[in-house]
Amino acid sequence: MTGDRRPPLVWRLVKGFGQFWWDFLIGDTPELFVAALVTIGVVAVLSHLWHLNGVAALALPVLATAALVLSVRRAVRGERRR
């Protein structure tokens, strides 16, 4: 009888798949996920729309570095609050 209360297998698989990718990409560092999307967006605009290849090549590692520094800073603040 307890088996009837469980969600359908397909739903559980879809939910597990979504949960896995959520934990894998976002987890406890949503700022890194957002930063990666922003970085890709900015570089895409620089490279494709404005055709500034040199600026795009520079912006990508600079934005990634900035994201890492900000995320570490956020974690340090969180640790100190504890």
């Binding site: 990409l25 890194l32 996920f33 990666a36 890709i40 490279s47 990634a64 890492l68 570490v72």
Partner: protein, 252 residues
């Protein structure tokens, strides 16, 4: 005579290009597999690798000609983005641990806990993340090897030669990787994670740019530049955070 020389040159260029391309891709795949094996366990790493090879073989057999038409830029953009995020997550954690703001792993305690856990869980235990990481690393790099061999080999009408050269490159790099793995096992876990984090972010940056059709100065050499950049950033962050922590402790 001219035709023979041109043909020989063509073969040499083909062999050189396929060998180097496959060796580079194999090194990249091996880096990911070694990192996963060292940090998450070899069983899942090998399983992920084996399944990826089987899936690759099946894909080649089923969709061989179609694989050549898969847009590599889209693949590289997606993989680059994922590696960028995942690498930064690892690097962030390693920086916090090195600077003393996050507790280091107690290897002895973890070892004892793992042994107890594995003893109770038996052989059915699986590490999903390790499996997926190894699978993705080998699958995506392998896909690039397949595309390289198919495009270069087919265009030169020497697919057999290209495949043989690719196999030699893969075996050679694999043997070197096994030798290096024995040395890597002595590296402390956090240093290992930091190194992998630097490599993942470097590859992530490079592939994201390639996916967005950014032309890197020096092409593949830029990867070395990214490794140097992220190593420097990591070193500065760790040094700064350690200094700040000491200053706070003295003030307290």
């Amino acid at each position: 005579m001219i035709a023979v020389v041109t043909g020989s040159t063509g073969v040499v260029v083909l062999v050189g290009a396929v060998f180097l391309a496959c060796a580079v891709e194999m090194v990249e795949a091996l880096t990911i597999v070694l990192a996963v094996g060292h940090t998450r366990g070899w069983r899942s790493a090998f399983e992920g690798t084996a399944v990826a090879l089987v899936v690759l073989a099946a894909l080649v057999a089923l969709f061989g000609p179609a694989l050549v038409r898969v847009p590599l830029s889209v693949l590289r953009l997606v993989v680059g983005g994922v590696l960028l995020i995942f690498g930064m997550q690892w690097l962030r954690k390693a920086i916090l641990r090195s600077s003393g703001l996050k507790a280091m792993h107690d290897e002895d305690a973890i070892y004892r806990a793992k042994v107890a856990e594995l003893a109770s869980a038996g052989a059915a235990q699986r590490d999903r993340i390790a499996f997926v990481m190894a699978f993705k690393g080998v699958f995506l790099e392998g896909l690039e090897v397949v595309i390289t061999v198919l495009t270069l080999g087919t265009s030169a009408h020497r697919l057999g030669l290209a495949s043989t050269v690719a196999a030699i490159a893969v075996v050679l790099v694999g043997i070197v990787g096994v030798v290096v793995a024995k040395q890597l096992s002595n590296v402390p876990e956090n240093a290992m994670k930091m190194g992998v984090g630097v490599l993942l972010v470097s590859y992530g940056t490079f592939w994201t740019g390639e996916g967005l059709r950014v032309r890197w100065p020096g092409n593949d050499v830029m990867l070395v530049g990214f490794v140097a950049l992220y190593l420097a950033v990591t070193w500065v962050l760790v040094a700064y955070l350690r200094h700040e922590r000491r200053t706070r402790e003295v003030a307290a």
